[in-house]
């Protein structure tokens, strides 16, 4: 069996991290949605509140770190010394995470 390249190991590690942290981002987005809904039910202003600021910061910092990881994934998928299956997974994970980041931006910017 051919020896696994450093790029391959790194690529698979990136995939795993993207998967793990995409779930965390999704979880934080759900928390944000739930908090928004609760505030709406209580008819209080959620945007700008301490809870909103805290969630916004947590989502923002995670998105930023994930974005850096998707850049690595994109580069590896395009030119990295990785197996075809890993290349494919890197592309899928990148697309999934970037979609989530986009959705999180939308969530943070909407005032509803």
């Amino acid at each position: 069996m051919a020896q696994e390249t450093e790029a391959e190991m790194f690529g698979r590690g990136v995939c795993k991290l993207l998967q793990e942290y995409a779930q965390k981002l999704e979880q934080r987005m759900s928390e944000m949605r739930a908090a928004k809904q609760a505030a709406q039910m209580r008819k209080i202003n959620f945007v700008g509140s301490t809870e909103w600021q805290s969630l916004q910061q947590r989502i923002g910092s995670l998105s930023q770190a994930l974005l850096t990881a998707t850049r690595e994934a994109s580069q590896l998928a395009e030119q990295g010394d990785v197996r075809d299956l890993t290349r494919f997974e890197l592309r899928l994970r990148r697309a999934e995470v970037e979609g989530l980041i986009h959705a999180s931006e939308f969530l943070l910017n909407s005032n509803d």
Binding site: K43, T70, S74, L76, H102
Partner: protein, 288 residues
């Protein structure tokens, strides 16, 4: 003395206004987001996407930097030190001197191209763009990851850079052919500017580089396009220069190549002037 009838109507109007203001005050949580949405929709309508300039090219050739420089958003003091960051989506800028023209910068990474380029290439085919800036760099495409993970590195590390540059030059030709296919479908006059950037990295091989873009694989693809399109509908300009002067490094700060000794600030400024003047002349061509 005021007319009691008129005075009564005025009082009623004021009362209504006060009531409306009170209602608005009490319901500001509901109204504010709706007003914001309305404002955003109006803004989109007014400043909606008209014919613009598309900035295309492979990843890491300097498209975003060009967009930022032309729109006056690049800070030469602060931004020169930052590492290469891939653009994730389509970015829009407005040229400082011609704010009515929108610069649309498309992401260059292959997998991001699949998602964003078809509609942009479609707008070229439909004649909806004024012109295209195709960014090249004699293969000096920035890498965000380490070069050691590159598919060309493992087999022969010592000749990695030469093979990498050759591979990326081929990619530039592939992209040109993709853009050319859309230009051929376009029945309206459109210009194409090939901006070969990062001159400070390749100026020692100037003759070879100029040859590649004028008469080599790239130049031949342009000639073919010229013959098919004709000079009435198509104009191509080629400009060489450096948007910024810096070593060729990866996102991990590994130096792949140092910039050419002697390529100073004066040469860079001259090259920037050339780039700006060429873009301005192409815009004038469209107006004629």
């Amino acid at each position: 003395m005021p007319d009691p009838a008129t005075s009564g109507a005025a009082t009623l109007k004021i009362a209504h206004a006060v009531k409306a203001a009170k209602w608005a005050w009490d319901h500001q949580d509901v109204i504010e987001p709706k007003l914001k949405r309305f404002y955003r929709a109006t803004k989109r309508k007014i400043f909606g996407r008209g014919p613009g300039i598309l900035v295309l090219g492979a990843g890491g050739v300097g498209k975003t930097t060009l967009g930022r420089i032309l729109s006056g958003k690049y800070d030469f003091l602060l931004d020169s030190d930052t590492e290469y960051e891939q653009s994730v989506g389509v970015q829009t800028f407005r040229a400082k001197k011609t704010p009515d023209v929108e610069l649309v910068v498309a992401p260059g990474q292959e997998d991001r191209r699949d998602a964003t380029w078809p509609s942009l290439l479609g707008s070229i085919a439909n004649g909806k763009e004024l012109g295209i800036v195709l960014c090249c760099a004699d293969g000096h495409h920035a890498l965000s990851s380490t070069y050691k993970y590159h598919k060309l590195y493992k087999s022969e590390p010592s000749s990695f850079l030469d093979r990498f540059l050759a591979d990326r030059r081929q990619e530039e030709v592939r992209i040109l052919k993709q853009v050319a296919a859309s230009l051929l479908q376009n029945a309206r006059p459109t210009w194409l500017l090939t901006l070969v950037g990062k001159e400070d990295l390749w100026t020692a091989n100037e003759q070879q580089v100029h040859e590649f873009y004028r008469h080599g694989p790239y130049g031949k693809a342009i000639d073919e396009l010229m013959v098919k399109k004709g000079t009435r509908l198509f104009r191509h300009e080629l400009v060489f220069g450096s948007l910024i002067v810096r070593n060729f490094t990866t996102g991990r700060r590994e130096i792949l190549k140092k910039n050419t000794a002697g390529y100073d600030h004066v040469r860079q400024v001259e090259s920037l002037r050339r780039i700006f003047e060429t873009i301005a002349s192409l815009e004038d061509w469209k107006v004629q």
